[in-house]
Chain length 288, copies 2
């Protein structure tokens, strides 16, 4: 199966997995979402993802019919439909819904809810071993006062422009600065670096997404006795690091081989220790 889709209450075949051209998600990027990785049919940290979805929906004023519980059941349903064996990427999307052609409806329509699962191919072992190249993009992260990056919204233009800029430069990951020029995060991942044995990551106050994987990595570091600091960093702090990596639910902990012209050494003891602890946590929680 190429993908499984749950749409507004039931599983639908791909050819019927369609929404109106008047859906506010399509017309205005007026929606929120989550991306979740599943291992052998089991979603990792589903509770945390659903909690963040609830927070994003509240921040933009989208009321979730029945709360997040039906979405949790939908995740299970699409994963069953996809078949349990492979790694999968689950996406939950909730938009303001279809109000028809009226650009300023008096009341919000019923939200559109979509949950999809598709086979996921993680970065290759070579990419995990060597790391992947990144650049600091000219495109900056949204100002928190304009479009708070803490809201995981489908209005993703600045992320998309940053990724395009990175790909044009031959890089895989795009690192965005905050409006004040401090490090923020990667295009769809959080950013970490290691310097003198201490693990550093931009503070939530930088205007970034509160990553589910980010929180777990910070927790694992503390449990491993690795000193941790969250702060506001200049790009030079990253360029002077011993190790650097990005985190997201799909890619887990992915080392950076370079940021622009700065190449990082191939020995990454802290990154490796965290990666191992992460894999152990996944196996332990999911029994896979």
């Amino acid at each position: 199966v190429r993908a499984a889709v749950w749409l507004d209450g039931r599983l639908v075949p791909l050819r019927r997995a369609r929404v109106s051209v008047f859906d506010r998600g399509f017309l205005q990027g007026d929606g929120v979402y989550e991306t979740i990785r599943a291992y052998r049919g089991r979603p990792f940290r589903l509770v945390e993802h659903l909690a963040r979805l609830r927070a994003s929906a509240r921040a933009v004023g989208i009321a979730l019919p029945g709360g997040v519980a039906p979405l949790g059941r939908a995740v299970a349903a699409v994963l069953r439909r996809l078949g349990g064996a492979a790694d999968a990427r689950v996406r939950i999307t909730v938009t303001r819904g279809n109000a028809g052609p009226d650009p300023a409806p008096r009341r919000d329509p019923r939200p559109t809810r979509v949950v999809t699962a598709a086979p996921y191919t993680p970065p290759s072992p070579a990419e995990y071993a060597r790391g992947v190249p990144a650049v600091v993009t000219r495109i900056r992260r949204n100002d928190r006062r304009a479009q708070d990056p803490a809201i995981k919204a489908t209005s993703l233009l600045n992320t998309l422009l940053a990724l395009r800029e990175a790909r044009r430069a031959g890089a895989r990951e795009a690192i965005l600065l905050a409006p004040d020029g401090r490090l923020a995060e990667a295009a769809s991942a959080n950013l970490f670096f290691v310097r003198g044995g201490t693990l550093h990551t931009p503070a939530l106050e930088s205007g970034i997404l509160a990553g589910v994987t980010r929180a777990l990595v910070l927790d694992l570091a503390r449990r491993l006795g690795i000193p941790v600091r969250e702060g506001r960093y200049r790009p030079t702090a990253l360029l002077g690091a011993d190790e650097a990596f990005v985190t997201a639910s799909t890619i887990e902990i992915l080392p950076l081989s370079s940021v622009g012209r700065r190449r990082f050494p191939p020995i990454r003891p802290v990154t490796r220790a965290l990666r191992e602890a992460y894999r152990v946590t996944v196996a332990d929680e999911l029994g896979v």
Copy 2:
């Protein structure tokens, strides 16, 4: 007819006016658009709107199949289908298209192109006479370095959040400041004010949309001998104005009755002169 829809090459009935849940417009707000007003079936300033659409598409790297000419023909087709008599609102949306479940496809898919027309009810004569209330929102316009407001993109979250804030405050129009605290524009309209007989509007360098109606209003003011200034203004400049109005293709020139607690006088000679010149231009260009 409630609405007419052209989708990827042909007119379709409303029930078939649907796009895949994997469309990048739906998943990521990865699209550009235009809104055009039609009078008795004839679109106003279509050439200017299509030129801006071309510029927006280029800025985000969406290739328009056949350029904008097929979209111009689609505008005519949906207006014919709608029937020529009423005022109508035409919307052109072009998204990156449907690449399926793959979150990082190697190549861009074929863009999705949607053109819709629906009957449009303008603000009432009373609203034009009295003006409508506005507030300066806490939500700010996107930073030009993050998501340039000059790109008319479907990633509209900050606009939507500003409008929600304004509606909660009982206002109709939301005025957004630029990241530096200077006046930018309204949620989906440009902002003008009159002080001592001079017409002022935030400069394009403020990080705003280059409005088609804005350009026409500036042109009309010059032809009417009204002194014009484009600049970077503090909100206090607006609060100290004699007249204020917002402009957009649909609402044309709509006076503001108030901005927050500041109420504007009901006598608006400059606004009225510009409104009359605008109506004459529409009638003259379209023969309606």
